[in-house]
Structure formats: C-alpha cells, structure tokens
C-alpha cells in the first residue's frame, strides 16, 4: 500500500492512504477523546470530541470522519481543542438530566470519564431539564432518555451489525430522541431481536439491562468490533 507522510503533534509519520485521522492516531498511540466512535461501526462525527486542528484549514475537523492526506500538519492537543472539548462535555451534561448519583451507570460511565478527562468540575451553562421518558416496556432492557447523549452508537450497532434497524432518530435540536420502530414502545417492537448489542454499545446509562443494580453495570462495547472482525474471517 502506498505511504504518505504527515505530521501529527510535531511527530513525522509515514502512514497508509485511505485511513481517517483517528485511525492513524490510534495506531500511533496518540490519544484522542471520542464518544460516538466505536470500532466496527461507521463513523458519523456526532459527538464533536475528536476535533483536530489542521494547518491551512480555518475550522476544526472531526478526526473520525476526516481522511488523512499527504503533508497534513495536524495538532490534537492545543489549548483551543482542550477548551472546546470541555465545552462539549459540559453541554452533554446541561442538555439532559445526567444525575450521576442516582444513575445505574454511576462509576462505569464513559460520560463521567469524559468529564474527568476534560477536567470538568462544574457546568457553566444553564441546565435545560427536559422532560424525558423512561421506556421499560422491553422485558429485559430499559431505555432512559434522561441519560442519552445522542451518540447514535445503538442505532448503528442495530442497523449495521445486527441488521435489525430497530433504532432510529426522531426530531431535531434539543427535541431529538432515539426511537424504537415508529416511535412505539420498545417492548412492542417487531424488528428488535433482543440481541443486546445496543446495550453494550451505549456509553452511558441510557440503555441498560433490567437484571442489574447500580454499580454493577458491566458493558462490553468492544464485542461490536470483535463481531465485525470475526465475520470478515473466511472459515
């Protein structure tokens, strides 16, 4: 495969063409914050956490959806990026009702970890306090819109890996919601196979199994990527 040379954080690298900036960074041990990225799923650039600065481009671009090109000079840890990442994590918390102390995912949550990484100690924006439903109609799982950050990992895991496409996205802006089928209760879904992939793909306490209590939530998002890899094998 032809190689191109790029510079990331003042490090010169020779990398394969056709890869995204995020893939290149991961391969070379350069840490980039992500929420909506999950190995095995198509990247959509929803969370805006993986923003990077590219010399000559006057706006920040998401590393997960931008393909690497020859002679790019990329910076991933500037003060501007760190500031934006903190703003983004604060807006996640302000947009819905993330009450960590009563959340089933407390201590095991990617959103909490993101807050620690961006050194978010308080939220500078007014909370929206939207009224959100909790769908408990499925016999095994719960969908809690209060904790959802609209990363759409569940939507993509269901559509791309399971092939059921039970999940979808409704409305826009702050009214945006994940829906099951045509906005009907999850328990009544005719497409859901109850496989549980969305449960593992969800980075927060928005989708979780009923059979657990707070502090015992164990999610394995890496199974999605493993499944995809296994299917590529020619057995």
């Amino acid at each position: 495969m032809p190689k191109i040379s790029v510079t990331i954080d003042d490090k010169k690298l020779d990398v394969d063409v056709g890869k995204t900036i995020l893939e290149v960074c991961k391969e070379n041990g350069i840490e980039i914050l992500t929420m909506c990225h999950l190995k095995g799923l198509t990247d959509v650039g929803a969370c805006r956490l993986c923003l990077v600065e590219i010399e000559g481009v006057n706006k920040l671009l998401s590393a997960c959806t931008t393909k690497i090109a020859a002679n790019m000079i990329i910076r991933t840890k500037t003060e501007k990026i760190k500031r934006y990442q903190r703003i983004t994590s604060e807006l996640f918390f302000a947009e819905r009702n993330h009450v960590c102390s009563v959340c089933v995912a407390n201590g095991k949550c990617d959103l909490q970890k993101l807050g620690y990484k961006t050194e978010m100690n308080h939220i500078r924006y007014p909370y929206l306090f939207p009224e959100c439903n909790v769908d408990t109609s499925h016999p095994w799982y719960v969908l809690d819109h209060n904790r959802c950050i609209m990363c759409t990992r569940c939507v993509r895991a269901c559509g791309e890996v399971e092939g059921a496409h039970n999940w979808n996205v409704m409305n826009r802006g702050y009214q945006v919601r994940i829906i099951s089928d045509f906005d009907t209760p999850w328990g009544e879904s005719v497409t859901c196979t109850s496989c549980g992939k969305c449960v593992h793909a969800c980075p927060t306490g928005a989708i979780w199994p009923k059979a657990i209590v707070q502090g015992q939530l164990e999610k394995k998002p890496e199974i999605i990527g493993e499944l995809v890899e296994k299917r590529k094998m020619n057995l």
Binding site: V99, C100, S101, E119, N121, H122, I123, Y127, F129
Partner: protein
C-alpha cells in the same frame, strides 16, 4: 500566623456531605491546629460571622437559602461549593422537570400515605420554595467546587488543608475529581 476561621453551611442537601466531612476523623485535629470552626449546622442559629473559608453543602431551593447564600458570599473570603447538589443541583434539581404545584401536590395532597385529604402546609414561618432549584454558581460567585455525591473525606480534607496552608488545591491534578 493567626488562626483562620472556617464555617460549614447546610442548604438544600441531605447532609451527606457533612457526614463525609466528619469522616476525615482524627485529621480534624490537623484542621483545628490551623483554624477555628466558628459555625456549622449543629450550632445555634446565629448569622454567619466573617470567615476565611466556608464550605456550603446543597443547592438553593428556597427564598431562605437565597438570602443565606447572599449573606454568606458577603461574609466569606473563599466560598467552596461542597458536593454535587451545590455544584450541579443533582438530586434536589430533579424536581425542576415539574411545576412547583405538581411537586407540592405529590408530596402533600396526593401522597399515598395520607389517611384523609391532605393539604399543602402554608404557615408564614415556613420557607417558600423557589420555582426551580439552582446550583450555587447561578446566584453567587463560587471560588472552588468539590463535586461528588458525597465527595470523599480524603478529597474534602485535601481541599481544606491546601486552603488552610494558603495553597490553591487542584482536584484534577491529584485525580480526585468525581461526580455521583
């Protein structure tokens, strides 16, 4: 060096943060060497005197809390928001999704434990709940925040000890940042 004055205040919270503060155990003696604790929720109801550091637990849920926090801001050199309720409104803020009337009716009129018809208490001596619960930084300038529900005793002691030794604590540097 003269001794500093510190105080702790309990607004709209569950007192869990104060319990966690008490969990610093014998290290309270180290604090006592450097400071006098001039007010806390178990002393009598005098107004807060001038202090160097005040730890405020809980969010602003009523007119009385608002009056109190405005007074505290005038009296304290450093105001520390202690715990998730003070910093993010946390569980106390969960009533913000509802109308205040709905909240009162749920608690007093339609409560399942009511023997007969209930009514909302309405005595002039009672505090008046505000429409929405807000964290401290929405009404006053906060100098330092310790999130957590409750924050670890170690974290509280670390912050207190740094302030008492005229240093600015940094929670993210010592990996003590925590919510929930």
């Amino acid at each position: 060096m003269s001794k500093k004055k510190i105080a702790t205040v309990w607004l709209g919270g569950c007192s869990g943060c104060h319990m966690s503060l008490l969990d610093i155990d014998e290290r309270i003696l180290d604090v006592a060497k450097l400071a006098d604790i001039v007010k806390c929720p178990i002393v009598d109801g005098k107004e807060l005197p001038e202090v160097d550091i005040v730890l405020v637990e809980g969010s602003v849920t009523s007119d009385e809390h608002l009056r109190e926090i405005l007074h505290i801001r005038k009296q304290a050199k450093a105001l520390v928001a202690l715990g998730d309720c003070a910093v993010t409104s946390n569980i106390t803020g969960m009533r913000n999704y509802f109308d205040l009337k709905e909240v009162f009716d749920t608690a007093y009129v339609n409560a399942v434990s009511n023997d007969k018809e209930g009514s909302v208490p309405d005595h002039p001596e009672l505090l008046k709940l505000r429409d929405k619960v807000v964290p401290l930084q929405e009404v006053v300038k906060v100098d330092f925040v310790i999130p957590g529900c409750p924050p670890d005793a170690d974290t509280i002691f670390y912050v207190l000890f740094e302030f008492l030794n005229d240093r600015i604590p940094n929670l993210s540097e010592v990996k003590k940042l925590r919510y929930g």
